[in-house]
Symmetry: C2
Subunit: 394 residues, 2 copies
């Protein structure tokens, strides 16, 4: 950590070392930029708690067409990004392409799934309707009580922890310097209220500054705590608590799942994401409770109850870990990626439920901005300007 008064400079400072910030750091350094990444707990935030679903199709909801398009862009980009990451680091990140099986527990759940499936097909997405027997043919441990389901072959998963660890390693190998401190403020020069000025660096929470002509705020739920953002952005990102469970197979038990299962159990959503190493991630709650990271008895009960309702063998698995994280939510559920306020300030935050999925495409968009190019058009609707923060002129 730079001592107070010591001059540290870089081309770019990135505030936040989750998968978004670290992916940007890696790609920016690979593009030749001198990058400092600042995070007090590098890689210890929401990225670790995630399940790693890469699921634009089974996540697509009515009214979120623009989000679907950027998610599809992100999914299309993911495999080559992951392949390069694996090549650079020599570590597998656990990308699984078996597809996602959405199952409906009762007739009401099934009707809701059919309505969403029709909408997803209208958007050109692949979906295969399956009766209860066909669901069990794909996943033999599903309960016969399941009413029916839909296979979304285009929805994959990645081991979010391996992926995040590989990103950190790739960033370090590319020359990214990590400062274990929080960016307290974006510093600007010129212009009375900042918005007209230009970024000149950041101030760290424990003292010291880093000089840089460009700053990326990728601080997830904590993005609003960074001083110097345009006023309109300060309270746009809110934490949405998610609790999830990590289960493991007992020694000698063969894998109970091949596909990711997304189940609706009497209106409640639960997912089960299998890993090659025998882990099964079960999630997740969505709770508006501010920055609360407690694991509650009720949430653990409900997740286990719903998982066991569709996959009774879940009861035999080992409960290896319970955890809670804070998704960075925004008013329209879309991410915030683009330039804002003073020249040289870039936002890459608010990825809500899709941070892992969007990380590769977000890195592309951010590096485009940092190097004076245009991001893909799918990002157009997701600039900070939509919340009233003027985008800086290029």
């Amino acid at each position: 950590m730079p001592a107070k008064g010591v001059a540290v400079t870089a081309d770019v400072v990135i505030a936040g070392g989750g998968v978004i910030g670290t992916a940007i750091a890696w790609r920016a350094a690979a593009a030749g930029l001198d990058v400092v990444l600042a995070d007090p707990a590098h890689g210890d935030g929401a990225s670790l708690v995630a399940a790693g679903m890469l699921a634009p199709v089974s996540e697509a909801l009515f009214g979120e067409g623009a989000l679907l398009r950027v998610n599809l862009l992100a999914l299309a980009r993911f495999p080559s990004f992951a392949a390069e990451l694996e090549q650079v680091t020599g570590h597998r990140v656990g990308l699984r392409r078996e597809g996602t099986l959405a199952v409906a527990y009762d007739a009401g759940d099934y009707a809701a799934l059919m309505r969403l499936t029709a909408f997803r097909r209208l958007a050109g997405l692949e979906a295969e309707e399956l009766d209860s027997r066909a669901c069990r043919k794909l996943e033999s441990f599903l309960t016969p009580d399941v009413h029916g389901g839909v296979l979304f072959p285009g929805d994959w998963s990645v081991d979010n922890r391996r992926y995040a660890a590989a990103l950190r390693e790739a960033a370090a190998a590319a020359g990214v310097r990590v400062v274990r401190d929080r960016v307290a403020a974006v510093l600007t020069a010129g212009g009375a209220d900042g918005a007209d000025g230009r970024v000149r660096g950041v101030a760290l929470a424990e003292g010291g500054e880093i000089g840089a002509a460009q700053v990326v705020v990728a601080a997830g739920s904590w993005s609003g705590a960074v001083d110097g953002l345009p006023a309109a952005l300060r309270s746009v990102v809110r934490p949405v608590k998610g609790q999830l469970l990590r289960l493991r197979h007992p020694d000698g038990m063969p894998p109970v799942l091949t596909h990711t299962i997304r189940a609706t159990v009497r209106g409640a959503d639960v997912y089960l994401v299998p890993r090659a190493d025998g882990e099964v991630v079960v999630g997740a709650t969505q709770e508006e409770r501010g920055p609360d990271l407690t694991v509650t008895a009720g949430a653990v009960h409900d997740l286990l109850h719903d998982a066991m309702s569709v996959l009774p063998v879940t009861s035999e698995l080992i409960l290896a870990e319970t955890c809670a994280g804070l998704r960075p939510g925004t008013p329209d559920n879309g991410p915030i990626v683009g330039e804002a306020g003073p020249g040289g300030l870039l936002l890459a935050t608010g990825h809500y439920r899709n941070g892992i999925l969007m990380s590769a495409a977000t890195a592309d968009a951010a590096v485009a901005c940092l190097t004076g190019q245009a991001p893909a058009p799918e990002w157009e609707p997701f600039g900070p300007g939509r919340f009233g923060a003027g985008e800086a002129a290029r």
Copy 2:
């Protein structure tokens, strides 16, 4: 740990450092004996996983009259033992005397509770029948769905972790030496098959011996793994797996319980034990699975489900810890306390569900044996001889 070949001697070696072994060690040292206690993980076994119920009354089952009598002896002894422990160490052990409220969820559960209550009253035990409203008057967070209950004012609880820690401290202060190794074998001298000889010490698993004229085997579920015991005792103690949960109140939430609750929910038993520091212990499964210490999804679900059925506010508590332990069970559910086999060998094991409760009285009985006195008559039915191991002549 003594190096191989180095002569270590003591008056008594105690194999096992749970609450039973440590309580005996403390009292034996206080009685003037030179004591070595051997345990590879001193205080890290079933004693830590326990809930700390001191509940002879609400544990009393048909056909277990002798066990009830020794449990009542143990409860009567506990307060003075705990008071001395608190005085010696300066630490509180969290003894709570509010009593235990047994509640029955449905009419069938209530009928079963009434049958047991009649039996317990026949044994002279105090029990106060309460309707659903009276139960809620005692514990306002109970669901109105509870059919009714019985207050057993004589059943208390202690914070098993504070209690175990205080015992370790008291033992150390009394001069007990701790060897962090497992007793692999009891060594004897004279007599062809051991049973006619006399104890001369123990062999440690990692090498080395400790010379002593008396050995106490207090190794819980692992007692049968000690070589040199009479053959009949080697497979008498079996591990009975118990899983339980430690919940905590969120900051600012007032205590949700005052009494220990023992609930029967459609035939399934669950208990909730409140602590002064805001912890609530919820337990426990009883599983015949050998020495398996995994925490399973199904057990956690069922415990939470049953607890929430009678005390819905449980869902708001923090799930702080899940754990599993191995109770040392015996064929007749009674402990094994007394002399056996070669002269100088004492057993103090097999305490099953009542190790914390019986620890003080077991220490008294063991110290009586070690100093040539007679244990209380309530112990008579619980000697090793009942499993075919000849008791040594005094």
